[in-house]
Amino acid sequence: MRVYLNGNEAVATAVRLARAEVVAAYPITPQSTIVEKIAEYIADGSMAADYIRVESEHAALAACYGAAVTGTRVFTATSSQGLAYMFEMLHYVSGCRVPLVMAVANRGLAAPWTIWADHQDAIACRDTGWIQLYVETAQEALDTCLQAYKIAAHPEVLTPVMVCLDGYVLSHTEEIVDVPEQEAVDGFLPPYRPEYAVDPARPMVFGIGAGPELYPAFKYYQHQAMLRAQEVIEDVDGEFAALFGRSYGGLVDPYYCDGAEVILVLMGATAGTAREVVDDLRRQGEPVGFLRLRSFRPFPVAALRAALAGTRVVAVLDRDCSFGYEGVLATEVKAALQGVPGAPVVAGFTGGLGGRDIRPEDLAGIFRHCLEAVRHRNRGEGLVVSGGWQK
């Protein structure tokens, strides 16, 4: 059914369709309207779930963990400071291999105080062992939440998933969303029945302690599961496409990358603007392309190499910064291309921090800057491309 929804409403709709049974969340802008909507669904009887009104984000994730180990499908959502406050629990949940799903309405971190979008919050949680999928549209937010439950609970993955949507730019922007039928979703996503759960008849310890002789083995298999998740993310996206007719490319979402001399890489909703810019420049005969990174963790090295290897310059736009170095995505793309014969030059750009608008002309400027460098190289000098910062 075609419905006019914003990104947060699309997420709430997905959580209802996924038949999440326990939701625990704490309000924070711009996430709050997700859980407000879920509370409404529960209140009007259209969703059979327990809503735990916790006193903090740390507690939200702890409560979700507690509910998940009893064998229920759970959900939470947060942003920014709230995600930072969850940091300890993030590791705990992924370490315990609890397949829960959390929406993150991406927002910058204080100080200075901000409530607007950037990716610093989730990027700072890069190493918490969560799968991170960044979406472009409200439709994708809905579809990815459904996919996320399937990916997380896959027996070879058993890893929690963050579905990241840009604060306001997606969370509060309304557009047409095709809401799938409950029956179709039930077919895609059967009830959550983990291999084991809290049960006095077969007592277990969840989250045992492990000494130096055992701890690395658990971490090794956690890492293996995350690597394996690459394939599962692609498979689930494919299965979803077969059932619902919509696909997001799985790990990466290339756009006119073939034959491009400059490819822009970024994550999140800015992708839409980038597509417009690429169309424009292509019409003008410029050899540019675009690649949206959908899966930030696991980091799709092979898929990136396949899409980027033939180009001259990869411009990476980070809505985050690893202070004292550069944008995190830029570093990671460089690392992914390291050792590839004739690898493209990677230029890092930082922009869109704290909600700063990324306009088509900003992206066009990045393309032109990189194209200029390529032409300069053609005059016989080494290819050097400087990055930039949107101040």
């Binding site: 006019y4 306001y168 509060h172 922007t173 309304e174 047409i176 839409g272 088509p360």
Partner: protein, 195 residues
């Protein structure tokens, strides 16, 4: 692409107006649409903006709107503190809720300026000075972008059940008053007091 900027004060329903207009366009008038509030917290009484984009192809641009084709002002007192005309596209249209000419000479050259006394209209029909649905109806009529049925159906989708009938009625009245999609002023245009 057509871009609309809505001006109001927190609590007046500018954000809802942007949504109703976008929903009406996308679900009931064959447009692709996108709507969003000015990003931030909405404090009651503080100036608020909201936006609607329409296009005949999918809208992918996620940047802010700087040069709207239409500007709708729900509260004329905003003209005293805010440059509501900022960035108006050449030949753009401005619709202000007022019973008199409050813009004076501030209107950019080439722009078309229209007034509707939506407050009066809302008091009559809704028995409350809530003007957002009237202004949605008026913009639909004035611009010819949407048929009035699209607006009334969108109102039914967005507003709580108890508020639908009167708001649909006020939107329809406003639509008729501004000229029923002809783009030409209707009878009660400039001073729209209903008798």
């Amino acid at each position: 692409m057509l871009q609309i900027r809505w001006h109001g004060r927190g609590g007046q329903g500018a954000v809802t107006a942007a949504r109703i207009f976008g929903l009406a366009a996308a679900l009931y008038a064959g447009w692709h649409a996108q709507s969003f509030p000015s990003f931030g917290t909405e404090r009651r009484g503080a100036p608020v903006t909201a936006f609607t984009r329409l296009d005949d192809r999918p809208i992918r641009d996620r940047s802010q709107i700087y040069n709207p084709d239409y500007i709708v002002v729900l509260d004329a007192t905003l003209l005293e503190t805010t440059n509501v005309f900022a960035g108006l596209a050449p030949g753009g249209i401005v619709l202000i809720n007022s019973s008199r000419d409050v813009a004076g000479g501030r209107i950019p050259a080439g722009a078309r300026l229209h007034y509707l006394d939506a407050t009066h209209l809302a008091r009559e029909v809704l028995e409350a000075p809530i003007v957002n649905t009237a202004m949605v109806g008026a913009l639909a009529g004035l611009s010819g972008l949407l048929p009035v049925e699209a607006v009334t159906r969108a109102i039914a989708d967005v507003l709580p059940e108890g508020l639908v009938n009167k708001n649909a009625a006020v939107a329809r009245r406003a639509y008729e008053l501004v000229g029923e999609g002809t783009g030409k002023p209707g009878a009660a245009y400039h001073d729209s007091r209903l008798v």
